[in-house]
């Protein structure tokens, strides 16, 4: 089985070498858990290794997104054209009658067109929640099922970013092992959960857990997610 490495120190060991190619992976977490940065970093690192990637931003405009990620040392120009950012957030603002537009159809039009002309292998959708709101799903579970099936048909390794709520202390915990609002966890091939955990009396730590990854024997425990000149996944030290 071909695997797509994340190039995140420690994470590929947790995943047994990377994510199985063609998987649809939900990256779920509360705000501030670095979902965008982590997935962008995976896309960026793969692009540096010649694997083309497409980042679809539905919430944050291109300029703002790239400014934010350049602060982490992730420059789009460094990839030599192997990575593309599709700025649907700006399209939402500029396209006339945006609220009435068929966003799911537009999304498919772009991603299929880009697949033909750019032949990307990794796709990040930021975020699934924004797409759900724009697409105005009527039968959410059925339409999500069809959407994820369609993503599999694209033949790319896809990361879906999902928002989870934050509790009153800023700490996110999955409700009763639920990582998605509409049971997407049953539909996707993999789930990576990101959370903020308390450390001692005052400290907070970002943690990562591979909840599910089909076709992979992986460590199911939480690990510390650290950013020091790049992401690292390490054991949690008490």
């Amino acid at each position: 089985m071909r695997r797509v490495p994340t190039h995140v120190e420690g994470l590929d060991d947790v995943l047994g070498g990377g994510i199985p190619a063609g998987s649809v992976v939900l990256v779920a977490g509360a705000p501030g858990t670095m979902k965008t940065s982590l997935t962008f970093s995976i896309l960026h690192a793969n692009a540096l290794h010649g694997e083309k990637g497409l980042y679809v931003s539905l919430e944050q405009g291109r300029e703002s997104l790239l400014d934010h990620l350049e602060g982490l040392g992730l420059r789009l120009d460094d990839t030599g054209g192997a990575m593309s950012v599709l700025d649907l957030a700006t399209l939402r603002k500029k396209l006339p009658g945006a609220s009435a537009q068929p966003w799911m159809d537009l999304f498919r039009l772009y991603t299929q067109g880009m697949k033909a002309s750019f032949d990307y292998r990794i796709l990040v959708i930021d975020s699934l929640d924004a797409l759900e709101i724009l697409a105005k799903f009527k039968d959410v579970r059925r339409e999500l099922f069809e959407f994820i099936q369609w993503l599999r048909g694209l033949g790319t390794t896809t990361f879906l970013l999902g928002e989870l709520p934050t509790d009153a202390h800023g700490v996110s915990e999955p409700w009763m092992s639920t990582f998605a609002k509409h049971k997407e966890e049953y539909l996707v091939d993999g789930i990576v959960h990101l959370r903020m955990a308390t450390q001692g009396q005052f400290g907070m730590q970002r943690q990562l857990r591979v909840v599910k990854m089909r076709g992979t024997r992986h460590d199911t425990g939480y690990h510390a997610l650290v950013f020091e000149d790049g992401f690292k996944v390490t054991r949690i030290l008490a």
Partner: protein, 585 residues
């Protein structure tokens, strides 16, 4: 000497740069070849002169300098002549040969006659030849200035280049002799000025971009238009010019169509080569250059300029007329044909063109003739039938040509076929079917007539038809007019089976997939229209607004090829909608 040598060296660098520029950018082979020969002569002349003067090369190299200098003179004359008569000169090689023949003899006789670089312009056979070469070039330039509206501006630049060569060559040489410094003579500092002026003229006459064929033998097939002649099609819209150009290309004849609406693409077998007339100050000169290059490479070919009026509007009639006269000579020499139309020319231009005594073929508008043929069978309802057909084919008024005849007969047969399914009177339907069959035969017979035949003037619209009208009354009486009316109604129903909204939706979804319909509805809402009341007049506005609004779809993509693809799709939507609305794009 160092200063003079430095100037010559700078000149060599400039000459080399100009040579590279011309080699890369000029599309006319003959101009490029003569320019390259002259530039190389100048470079060799300058290089060997500096080498011997500064002691880098032995004194024996003075012979090389002298040879290059002698060769440069007739080459200058040949280049100037080719820039003025470029379209004709390659066909007159003996003249060029005459100019070059003396060069080896004079070079060989130079040591015997004691003709050295110091006395190169003295009163001897060598000096006489050099002065004669320059005089030929200068005289031809002055003559072109006086007689040719097309070359008047260009001859100024040619004269400037020649005068610069004369001042820095012979005149400077005489001055040095008068001042007793004959050793300093032998090269020319003005070569970059002259080459620059010649290059400028070459660029002004540079052919338009097109996929020119490789040089080939003369085409000797049988064409509908005679070889070596210029034909004028006197028609209101340039329809027959297009028909005949495609027909000739179909026979294997090389054909070039020069028009404003052409796009320079690759030529495929059986199709004409197209070149787009660019609206520049030098459009007439470039048109001549384009035709010249094509005809030189493909003798026996056909050059069509169906929209001569556009060229006249861009370049002025005087230049256009001069260009036509030159092109006529060119085609005669190359055994090619030139085809022009009078479409949209002013009456004065048309009369002036007529005064040039070219074969003049008055031709009808096929749309009028087709309507006249239909009128014989269907009376005043012919207009309604034609209108239904044009709507069904998304044709704008006036676009109908003989190429649509087969589609029109199929449309009529389909209408009768549909009528037969619902009508009760089989005899009446059979009568209509016969009538459609007669009309189809007449239409096909008309479409098969060639322009030479039609130019005699016996057009369907001119035929008197009292007998037909009698026949029509009898047919209408027989069918009581009912079935005829039903035929018209059926034809209208055929054309309007798809609403305008459906056709616009088809355009949007073809380019934008499932998102297309919703985007179309948004645009309609902005226009204040609903799918039901969308009319042809709205389509042009819809096309323009959709193009502006959808342009943002390309802006959000950072992959150039995908951005270009989306932009092309948006432009295609605009064009297709405009065509649906009847705009002639």
């Amino acid at each position: 000497m160092i200063l003079y040598s430095s100037l010559i060296l700078l000149g060599i660098v400039a000459d080399a740069w100009l040579l590279t520029l011309v080699a890369l950018r000029i599309r006319r082979f003959w101009t490029k070849a003569t320019f390259a020969a002259l530039a190389l002569s100048f470079i060799i002349m300058g290089g060997s002169y500096v080498g011997t003067a500064e002691g880098f090369l032995p004194a024996s190299w003075e012979g090389v300098t002298l040879g290059a200098l002698v060769l440069a003179h007739p080459l200058t004359a040949i280049l100037v002549l080719s820039l003025i008569h470029g379209e004709v000169l390659p066909r007159r090689r003996p003249l060029i040969f005459l100019l070059l023949v003396p060069v080896p003899f004079l070079a060989a006789l130079a040591p015997v006659g004691g003709w050295s670089l110091n006395v190169v312009y003295a009163a001897n056979p060598l000096g006489g030849f050099l002065v004669l070469s320059m005089a030929i070039a200068l005289a031809e330039t002055i003559y072109a200035r006086i007689t040719s509206p097309l070359m008047a501006a260009e001859s100024f630049w040619l004269s400037a280049g020649l005068v610069a060569l004369l001042v820095a060559g012979p005149i400077y040489g005489y001055e040095l002799q008068a001042l007793s410094f004959p050793d300093s003579a032998g090269s020319n500092v003005a070569t970059p000025i002259a080459l620059g002026a010649f290059a400028l003229v070459a660029f002004h006459g540079n052919p338009f971009p097109a996929a020119y064929p490789v040089a080939r033998r003369r085409w000797r097939g049988e064409g509908a238009l005679g070889d070596g002649l210029t034909f004028v099609f006197d028609e209101t819209r340039p329809k027959y010019a297009g028909v005949i150009a495609r027909s000739e290309a179909g026979r294997g004849r090389p054909v070039l169509i020069l028009s404003r609406t052409s796009s320079a693409g690759t030529r495929t077998g059986g199709r004409p080569l197209e070149a787009a007339l660019e609206p520049t100050r030098y459009a007439a000169l470039r048109t001549l250059g384009t035709a010249s290059e094509f005809v030189t490479r493909a003798p026996g070919s056909l050059v069509a300029i169906p929209e001569l009026a556009d060229l006249s509007a861009i370049a002025g009639w005087a230049r256009t007329r001069d260009m036509l006269l030159r092109m006529r000579v060119l085609c005669r020499l190359a055994g090619s044909s030139l085809l022009l139309t009078t479409s949209r020319l002013t009456e004065a231009e048309r009369e002036d063109l007529r005064g040039l005594k070219m074969p003049w073929w008055p031709l009808p508008d096929p749309a009028d003739e087709i309507e006249a043929i239909l009128a014989r069978s269907f009376g005043t309802g012919a207009g309604r039938l034609l209108e239904s057909f044009e709507r069904a084919q998304h044709l704008a008024r006036g676009q109908l040509t003989t190429a649509h005849v087969e589609a029109l007969t199929a449309f009529l047969e389909q209408a009768v076929g549909e009528l037969a399914v619902g009508a009760g009177d089989a005899k009446a339907v059979q009568g209509l079917r016969d009538q459609v069959s007669l009309a189809s035969q007449a239409l096909r017979a008309y479409a098969a007539r060639n322009p030479a035949d039609l130019s005699r003037g016996d057009w369907p619209s001119k035929e008197s038809g009292p007998a037909d009208r009698e026949f029509l009354v009898r047919a209408a009486d027989y069918w009581k007019g009912k079935e005829m009316e039903e035929l018209f109604t059926t034809a209208q129903a055929l054309s309007s089976r798809e609403s305008l909204y459906d056709r616009a939706k088809a355009v949007f979804t073809e380019h934008l997939g499932d998102a297309g319909e919703s985007l179309l509805r948004t645009e309609l809402t902005k226009l204040g229209r609903t799918p039901a009341d969308l009319g042809p007049a709205d389509l042009s506005r819809l096309a323009d607004r959709a193009a502006v609004d959808l342009a943002v779809m390309a802006d959000v993509v950072d992959v150039p090829q995908e951005r270009d693809r989306i932009a092309a799709a948006v432009e295609s939507i605009r064009r297709r909608l405009a065509t649906l609305g009847g705009d002639d794009l």
